[in-house]
């Protein structure tokens, strides 16, 4: 879907992106996190073909976004952190303008505008001027403008900034619905709890480098090369630790009277073997799932693990 290869972006005296390589799969929602100055916004702007990298490439499917920026823009949407609206135009005019500027044929524009307005729940505001909308509704209108041409790839930079809790919940619903429709979404935010609600993957940046990029569900349980599995049992199991330790392939990390955390190989086939072994041991297993830690815990642990080092400016060739 989106393929970033060896991306390097420099500002004078400072490397903002250092050899960034990643792939985002279709229908995923990737949370882009990292400390201030990590290069999150720069990565988004380079992926959106708003800035030229020093070297490296960004491909949206088979399209090199920097070779054909306009072609890429017709396939992607981007909502920057500080977005603006044409306050003196009505919501309908804003959407019609956007539809026309994205090349939606004039015969289809009316239905496209109505559909996206329904989708973003602003259909009752079409006659209202954009300047009179609340913060949450402005956000919805901005997202509507970004997705109205049905892009394959959507980037949102701090979309929840300034939104009240109910508007944030609404935003989560909107993003999940877009991803269900096959759209690939990349969201940058500092509000980790909110990202946890709707993200499928997490991409951590620090000092312009990728620290980690993995599905959230496995990342929450990964310890080194292995993952932690949480076992819940239907009732209290006497002598649980000893019985679990006797199951082949099980390494117990912690154990209670009706629950335990064990280590497993990340390979799903290995996990299936372990599950079968636990059941074969006659234990009253009620659930077997990777242990999820909060995104904040994962984030802090990963960031701490990566040593601070100033990125050098190397004389590598431009793309």
């Amino acid at each position: 879907m989106l393929r970033v290869e060896n991306l390097v972006f420099d500002y004078p005296g400072h490397r903002a992106l250092d050899d960034v390589t990643l792939t985002l799969g279709q229908g995923t929602i990737t949370a882009l996190v990292g400390p201030n100055g990590a290069g999150k916004s720069t990565l988004m702007r380079v992926c959106a073909a708003l800035d030229q990298p020093f070297s490296g490439q960004v491909h949206l499917d088979d399209l090199d976004v920097h070779a054909d920026p306009r072609g890429a823009h017709r396939r992607m949407g981007f909502l920057p952190d500080f977005f603006g609206l044409y306050d003196d135009l009505t919501v309908a005019q804003c959407l019609h303008y956007r539809a026309a500027s994205q090349g939606v044929p004039s015969a289809l524009r009316k239905s496209v505008v109505e559909t996206v307005a329904e989708r973003l729940e602003i259909a009752d505001r079409l006659g209202q001027k954009a300047g009179t909308l609340s913060r949450g509704l402005r956000q919805r209108l901005a997202i509507a403008q970004a997705v109205l041409h049905e892009p394959k790839f959507l980037m949102l930079d701090e979309p929840a900034a300034g939104l009240d809790p109910s508007a944030r919940i609404g935003l989560s619903g909107v993003l999940r619905a877009l991803a269900r429709g096959g759209m690939t979404v990349l969201v940058s935010s500092h509000i980790l709890a909110e990202l946890e609600d709707y993200s499928t993957h997490i991409l951590m940046l620090k000092q312009g480098r990728v620290v980690d990029h993995a599905p959230l569900i496995t990342m929450g349980a990964v310890t080194g090369r292995r993952i932690e599995i949480r076992l819940d049992f239907a009732h209290v199991v006497p002598d649980l630790r000893r019985r679990l330790a006797g199951v082949p392939g099980v390494e117990v990390i912690s154990c209670g009277i009706d629950e335990a955390i064990v280590m497993s190989d990340p390979d799903p086939a290995e996990r299936a073997i372990m599950l079968a072994a636990v059941l074969a041991a006659g234990l009253p297993l009620a659930s077997f799932a990777p242990e999820r830690r909060s995104l904040q815990d994962i984030y802090l642990a990963r960031m701490k693990a990566v040593a601070e080092r100033p990125p050098p400016l190397r004389l590598v060739g431009p793309s």
């Binding site: 500002y11 005296g13 306009r70 609206l85 005019q93 400016l313």
Partner: protein
């Protein structure tokens, strides 16, 4: 069947051309014209209408053209436009005409009143010598002014999104100057002056009226200005292009400067010297307009080292092309001077002698000094641009130029140290050593400083 307008043009019409505004402008315009007619005559009506067209098309228009872009940036909608599927050409004319749509409406209203007054007076020639040529000059001057203002705004936008007011004022000033240069400020006031005849100019030794020259040259410059806006807009959309447009523009300017000489019959040197002077000016302008981003320069260097000439050509700064053109023009001047000094025109000699510091005896050395001083100034600008003062390098450089070429030079001369004026001024004297040693030392020092800063900006350090 609905008319499928350029979306950017349509949006600007929605924003700027409401029927209430159109009605109000019409009522105000007609009321003023009728009041002027009642207290005087049609000549004064044409005068008032012409004044109004200068204010509307020459002053307000460039401001609107620049603000059509600046307000997008300030309002946070510019990134959205850059992410749209609109072509650079659609954005160019959609903004240029749509953003100034109300200005054009008011301007056409003023010109309609002007034409009506002219009709009542039997369409007198006025300063252009021809009534309709006068109107054409106003229209072409306005188009050129608006396009120039938008080009200035786009150039500023490439460098910084701050200082909106400064950007607009600068663009408006450039636009007004261009408008006045092409249309002339006083086409209308002497509509009924039968004794007036337009000034004559020479294009490659053939005489034409200046209004006609302005009309033709203004039209060609309009095409250049629109091409420049288009090229800059494409740059904003991250399309890479070779600098062929600038090369062609330099060539056009050289042909123009050589052909439209203020002194006819100047021979080869009479044609080459204005070209040289123009190339020097264009080098300064191009250097000021360039982003001077060391990262782009480094990309160009590396591409050149790898033999990727296509990519290297994309990164060539326009000032460097202009500087090479300056050197070429200097070469032509030196060749003309060395072949036959009898080619020196009397009128040019007189002109140069009026500039007290210049001496034709050392014209060759002076031309060489100008080339070297230009190199020094460019290096100073780059040194400023690669450092912590990057965002203020333009204004710092302008202050530096103003100081070094004006008060410091005057102080040296009037304090009795005129023989040392080559320290700050490219004006040759009898002493060959004193002519070239100061600038050689300056070039060495500035070169070393620039190299140090280049290393900081491109291989680590904290230049920013």
């Amino acid at each position: 069947m609905s008319l499928d307008l350029n979306p950017e043009f349509q949006r600007n019409l929605w924003l700027h051309l409401g029927w209430q505004r159109m009605m109000a402008a019409f009522i105000v315009g007609v009321t003023i014209a009728y009041a002027v007619f009642l207290v005087s005559d049609y000549d004064k009506v044409s005068y008032a209408a012409n004044l109004l067209s200068v204010i509307v098309l020459g002053m307000w228009g460039p401001r609107r053209a620049a603000d059509a872009l600046a307000e997008e940036v300030a309002g946070g909608t510019w990134e959205g436009q850059r992410m749209s599927g609109l072509s650079a050409w659609a954005m160019t004319w959609g903004k240029l005409i749509g953003g100034c749509s109300f200005v054009w409406y008011c301007g056409f209203l003023a010109l309609a009143i002007y034409a009506f007054a002219g009709f009542k007076m039997g369409f007198p020639g006025g300063r252009a010598g021809n009534f309709w040529l006068g109107i054409y000059l106003v229209l072409i001057g306005a188009c050129l002014a608006h396009a120039s203002a938008m080009a200035v705004a786009l150039i500023r936008l490439r460098k910084t999104v701050q200082y909106r007011r400064l950007t607009i004022t600068l663009a408006q000033t450039v636009g007004l100057v261009v408008y006045l240069a092409v249309s002339g400020s006083g086409t209308a006031p002497v509509l009924n002056d039968e004794s007036f005849s337009p000034r004559i100019g020479y294009v490659y030794d053939t005489a034409y009226s200046w209004p006609l020259i302005r009309a033709v040259v203004g039209t060609i410059f309009l095409l250049w200005a629109v091409a420049a806006v288009f090229r800059l807009m494409r740059g904003e959309l991250q399309y890479r292009a070779w600098p062929w447009l600038w090369v062609l523009f330099l060539g056009f300017c050289a042909v123009l400067a050589a052909g439209i000489a203020p002194w006819p019959g100047g021979g080869m040197i009479g044609a080459a010297l204005p070209v040289f002077g123009l190339m020097v000016c264009l080098t300064y302008v191009a250097a000021l307009a360039d982003r001077r981003d060391p990262i782009h320069y480094r990309s160009g260097f590396i591409a050149l080292r790898r033999g990727d000439f296509s990519r290297a050509a994309v990164e060539i700064p326009w000032w460097l092309i202009s500087y090479v053109a300056t050197i070429a023009a200097a070469g032509v001047c030196l060749a003309a001077l060395s072949t036959d000094t009898s080619l020196w025109p009397n009128s040019l000699t007189e002109l140069l002698l009026r500039v007290r510091l210049l001496s034709l005896d050392h014209l060759v050395e002076t031309i060489l000094l100008v080339v070297l001083f230009l190199a020094r100034d460019l290096m100073v600008l780059l040194w400023l641009s690669f450092g912590e003062w990057r965002n203020r390098s333009d204004i710092t450089w302008l202050v530096y130029l103003a100081l070094i070429y004006w008060p410091v030079g005057i102080i040296l001369i009037y304090a009795g140290y005129g023989q040392y004026s080559t320290v700050v001024l490219p004006v040759a004297t009898d002493d060959l050593v004193l002519n070239f040693t100061p600038i050689a030392v300056q070039l060495a020092v500035v070169g070393a400083m620039l190299h140090r800063r280049w290393i900081q900006a491109t291989r680590g350090g904290s230049a920013v």
